[in-house]
Symmetry: C2
């Protein structure tokens, strides 16, 4: 079986990949793995496992099919060779599945009342093996059985390093998928029992715990959802439960393994498929995502499709890239300014200056970081907000049409509708930009801010910045060559309003003195 | 010359790549290309061009070197074979460069006074060719000359489609780099002359304008910084200038081309190198980036290094990925809440309830979109803010240490310092979360919000949401199964404060009636 062999060989390099990722602190990068992506990926992986068991469930002989779209080739092969289905195997599979599902459902129902849970998988294995042995089904019906299992553990051997270069990319994929599945389970447990998980430490533990198995040609280990759920449901709390479980597995490997010779493969496949119920049931999450966020729903569906068509690591990569792209696009389109309290504050200033020389003060809050993603939209939104009340006689459509000309050609003669840029000749508009919400910025953001300042200056609009951080202040001063112009930064919005008043009175005073 | 041939072949597939990108609306994705990345990439590309001219400047014979790190191999080769430098060529190069730089500098200085600009490149070409012809330098000193140039345009031939699969990835790279260089120039012009550029339309135009040249084995065309600057400085305003310039080029190709036989290669190389001055001078931007945003400075430097070591497309890709990664990390670390006006509003409510039964109302604004990137930090920040005043007797360090236990184990017995979670038994704290700045959310964000609500409920803290959008309301209700609980959403902060008062009075009333 080339597939299994490949996995065996890979295992040697999986822990190294994980430890390398720990050193790179990639464990902290797992915040990129959102719940929808992990859910879709694990559901897709479970679908792949079910698909790999189909041939045993149906008792068919089938060549090993893998690669991209292998999922569909397997089902195409099954439907083409539907006549070669072994009825005995199919019936036994159906019977096993029905028994397993029924008993597990009953167990779940009566768990509270009768404290003991029937280990139905174990009972089924023993019963099926015994029946198969007694009826000699292997020869009578030609049923596939598990066959000879070598007892004990193989002697340790160093993992083959010469194939490292061939498997290194695959090893990273296997490591990532295994780690993600484990982490998802760990976070679920953490939520349930109220403790916290250190992503990067978990990564190291996961990598180190795979070092020893790599000397015994094991498949890379990862947390198993069914096992964990089983342990919790039987009431285990500490790692002593794991120790007991390990000892039992060792006993099976050394003593009971050979007795499983007679276990029919279709029964084993049924147990595997029913065991994946918990993962496949995640399809129900789709309804939740649909109601909460349709985009997350689409990410789930597309990640699942990619996992089905290609592999779990391809699906995971697609999901992560998709999630990042969606956030970037949403961020780019999100509104940048909040104008809520503007009206109130405008009125306040109007009454205080006694209506003699009407002065508009607009207080605009910026609610987002100002970076290359939203800088362009910020500029357009800000100019729109400044223009809005200056051009009450215009419809919004007109403003949009004229915006480019009016706002940018402030020095040119060709204004739109003539009076737009200066509707009230003796009214000077002031804008206070509250930067409390501007949590970080980059060069593009700062140069857009400076651009907006210049545009306002060109339109004879006062532009004041309140609540700037020291670094923002420095950046704006440097970028706009404003080292000398110190009257645009204020500690708070009220300080800026006060400064406008003072200026107003001064200019009134100078007006009077001129008269 | 394999390199030139390769470029010629490539040209056939470049326009298709550009048109494909137009169809995919990738032109709108150019917002990802920030000024530092474009500046670093074009500077790197200019450095590559200068490097390719070094052998002509020094008059050396050199094999064609390309591939990763080819840049360094070229200089290594030059230093190893420093003795084979042709002194005549070197002197002629130095002389040409000095003349070009001096005259261009003088042109720049006196441009305003004398309206005519000396076309020094043209003069130099004619003078050098004539001198070379008269002195028969090709044979006397063994100087490399341009040699035979075929006159006219080759007959049109369909681009070879059979090599498409080999060059398709490279073609996308070439298309992107050419487009980016052109777009950067277009945006510069747009800024200068105050018009706006449609990224995607530009992409289509760029692709279509490369379709016809692909039948004549041309190198993919892109906007030239030097040419554009030249046109602007001579005062051209419309596309008639381009038409005249094209006619002149056609005349050169058909009539004057053969006369360039005698132009020494080292003079041509000098002209190319001096022509790149405008691009190389972008090194000066480094100071600006350093002062405005140190991270953008690092992106510039690393993009430049990648462009130098590999190629312009690799550098560009690195720069874009780097820019996105930086934004994600910054976003993840940015502060999520703003508590500025909290104190004031707290006091207000305290006085109104007459101090009898002290009630803390905290009004917290959320200033960012709530997505998977910052959801975890939002939860921690919010819990910190709620806990802060409830635990005045603790130092912040203690809070951080205890946070996990106290906040998450609200139902468990093991609290930190005993009295922390309920410092004043008869005081009920209320939190109003102002969601005005919450511009968008995803599933992770909503489930964190619901988690915060549940945690507050567990701690007997009222949790009210103000200014929610309809979609956020629906998502929170669905995600937290709060369909029945309608008293957590309010239209505004003041409505929420009013509701708290009302509840307060009602509970006081019921307290009295019970007594």
């Amino acid at each position: 079986m080339p597939a299994r062999m490949e996995l065996y060989q890979r295992s040697g390099n999986d822990p190294e990949a994980e430890i390398a990722m720990f050193v790179l602190h990639l464990g902290s990068a797992t915040f990129l793995l959102t719940e929808p992506v992990i859910s879709a990926m694990t559901t897709g992986a479970a679908t792949h496992v079910v698909t790999s068991q189909v041939k045993y469930l149906l008792g068919m002989k089938m060549p090993y099919i893998s690669g991209p779209l292998g999922f569909f080739y397997i089902y195409a092969y099954v439907f083409e060779n539907i006549k070669s289905v072994q009825l005995e195997a199919l019936l036994l599979s159906l019977l096993s599945i029905v028994v397993l599902v029924l008993v597990k459902e009953l167990n779940e129902q009566f768990k509270r009342k009768i404290k003991v849970v029937l280990p139905v998988d174990l009972v089924l294995i023993i019963a099926a093996s015994f029946a198969c042995y007694c009826a000699n089904m292997e020869y009578t019906y030609g049923l596939d059985v598990v066959g000879h299992i070598p007892d004990g553990i193989p002697s340790p051997r160093a993992p083959p390093m010469n194939i490292l270069s061939e498997v290194v990319t695959e090893a990273f994929g296997v490591a990532l998928v295994g780690y993600v599945a484990s982490l998802a389970l760990a976070q679920g447990s953490a939520k349930k029992f109220k403790y916290s998980v250190d992503d990067n430490q978990e990564f190291l533990a996961h990598g180190l715990s795979n070092v020893i198995p790599s000397f015994f040609f094991c498949i890379p280990s990862a947390a198993a959802m069914g096992r964990t759920a089983g342990l919790y449901s039987t009431g285990s709390k500490t790692q002593v439960a794991c120790l007991i479980s390990c000892i039992l597995v060792l006993i099976v490997i050394y003593a009971i393994g050979p007795l499983l010779y007679w276990l029919p493969m279709c029964v084993l496949a049924s147990i595997i498929v029913v065991g994946l119920k918990g993962m496949l049931i995640q399809f129900r999450d789709l309804k939740k995502y649909w109601n909460v966020d349709k985009i997350d729903w689409s990410i789930w569906v597309s990640t699942y499709i990619f996992t089905i068509c290609f592999a779990a690591n391809v699906g995971l990569l697609f999901g992560v890239v998709c999630t990042i792209a969606v956030v970037i696009v949403r961020f780019q389109r999100a509104k940048t300014l909040s104008l809520k309290n503007m009206k109130e504050l405008e009125n306040k200033v109007k009454t205080e200056v006694e209506g003699e020389n009407l002065q508009l003060v607009k207080i605009i809050s910026i609610n987002n970081p100002l970076v290359f993603l939203n800088a362009k939209k910020f500029h357009a939104d800000l100019m729109n907000a400044i223009q809005k009340d200056n051009a009450n006689n215009q419809t919004p459509d007109d403003i949009n049409k004229c915006e480019q000309n009016v706002l940018l050609n402030s020095t040119s003669n060709g204004t739109c509708n003539g009076e737009t840029s200066q509707p009230y000749p003796n009214e000077k508009c002031s804008v206070i930009l509250d930067c409390t919400g501007l949590t970080f910025f980059d060069y593009t953001g700062v140069s857009t801010l400076v651009q907006a300042y210049m545009d306002c200056k060109g339109q004879n609009v006062d532009f004041l910045l309140a609540n700037c951080t020291a670094s923002l202040k420095k950046a704006v001063q440097y970028c706009g060559h404003l080292e000398s112009d110190k009257h645009i930064f204020f500690e708070s919005v009220s300080a800026a309003v006060g400064a406008i008043h003072l200026n107003k009175n001064l200019s009134k005073f100078s007006d009077h003195s001129e008269v």
